[in-house]
């Protein structure tokens, strides 16, 4: 069990400690940039807003990084920064009163996102699963984005969504089941 952390703000740190903190944040940023960007992109559906959200997420993360690091107790900080991005995305929709511009709204949605052989072959089933993904509730869709696009495990997803591990497991199970049913109905 780790000792209780003191409430020391970065502003109180000496130059060496501050430099250490900045180096740690730089590593953190490089390790998680793709995760945050992927999450933002699948949330908002376009590169422009995904870039804005990613930038804002890391700015917020920088402000609170020292405290988050001390309070993480050795746990990964990825769920924390994804939760920041999640909250920013929620504000983004609320402030602009709009829904995500899903790639499905575009003429060639999946190809616009990534260029794979499967996509080049125009696999219809990918389009269908993406279309049905949009029918899911926000929390189910987000859990699947975290699982499949970011490769997060149940515990990480639970922390990012602020749920229990058990509730998250059920959430993902139901999301996949719903998708299977909707795909089967078509």
């Amino acid at each position: 069990m780790s000792p209780p952390t003191e409430n020391v703000e970065p502003g109180d740190l000496g130059p060496a400690a501050k430099a250490d903190l900045d180096r740690a944040f730089e590593d953190f940023y490089r390790n998680h940039l793709r995760d945050v960007y992927s999450y933002a992109y699948y949330k908002v559906g376009n590169h422009h807003d995904a870039e804005d959200l990613t930038e804002q997420a890391f700015l917020q993360a920088y402000r609170h990084f020292d405290r988050a690091r001390r309070e993480s107790d050795g746990r990964p900080l990825r769920p924390w920064v994804i939760r920041i991005a999640h909250n920013l995305a929620s504000n983004y929709y609320r402030d602009r009163s709009r829904r995500p511009q899903t790639p499905l709204d575009n003429a060639d949605p999946i190809a616009a996102r990534h260029d794979t052989v499967a996509i080049a072959e125009g696999r219809e089933e990918l389009r269908r699963v993406m279309a049905n993904l949009e029918h899911l509730s926000d929390d189910r869709r987000e859990a699947l984005i975290m699982r499949f696009a970011l490769g997060m495990d149940n515990r990480e997803i639970a922390r990012a969504l602020g749920r229990s591990d058990g509730a998250t497991k059920v959430l993902i199970h139901r999301a996949i089941k719903q998708l299977q049913e909707e795909m089967g109905d078509e």
Binding site: E9, P10, G11, D12, L13, K18, Y29, L33, R34, D35, Y37, S38, Y41, Y42, H47, A50, E51, T54, E55, F58, L59, Y62, R63, H64, D66, I110, R113, H114, T116, A118, R123, E125, L126, V129, M130, L133, L144, I145, R147, F148, A149, L150, G151, I176, L179, Q180, M183, G184
Partner: protein, 114 residues
């Protein structure tokens, strides 16, 4: 027939793994975020430094009143915790020849809000 369709059920997890791939951020984004972080920190540091230099003795006295803490807190918020130290150091430097008790309270107030 699609590999993802087995019998009458879709292998949804396989389709999802195929469709929801990680997205590489544009090259420009990395530099943009780093530039923004540096610019915000620098701008806030300069603003806070200028602000602290401008304080008159009467303003310093006024800042001992918690009702007047909005300005430094808002300014500090612009740069976040990275610049919080500057506020405190600047105030501490200005106050060495003054009464320290009020500024200590101000520093505590700022720290609690950063």
């Amino acid at each position: 027939m699609s590999d993802a369709l087995s019998g009458s059920s879709w292998d949804v997890e396989r389709l999802l793994a195929d469709a929801l791939r990680p997205i590489d951020p544009p090259q420009r984004l990395s530099g943009r975020v780093e530039d923004t972080l540096a610019a915000v920190t620098q701008a806030a540091a300069e603003e806070l430094s200028d602000w602290a230099e401008e304080l008159s003795d009467s303003e310093l006295r006024a800042l001992r009143d918690p009702r007047n803490w909005v300005r430094p807190v808002v300014a500090a918020g612009a740069g976040g915790v990275a610049t919080g130290a500057l506020v405190l150091l600047e105030l501490r430097r200005r106050s060495r020849s003054k009464s320290e008790s009020g500024l200590r309270a101000l520093g505590g107030g700022l720290r609690s809000r950063l």
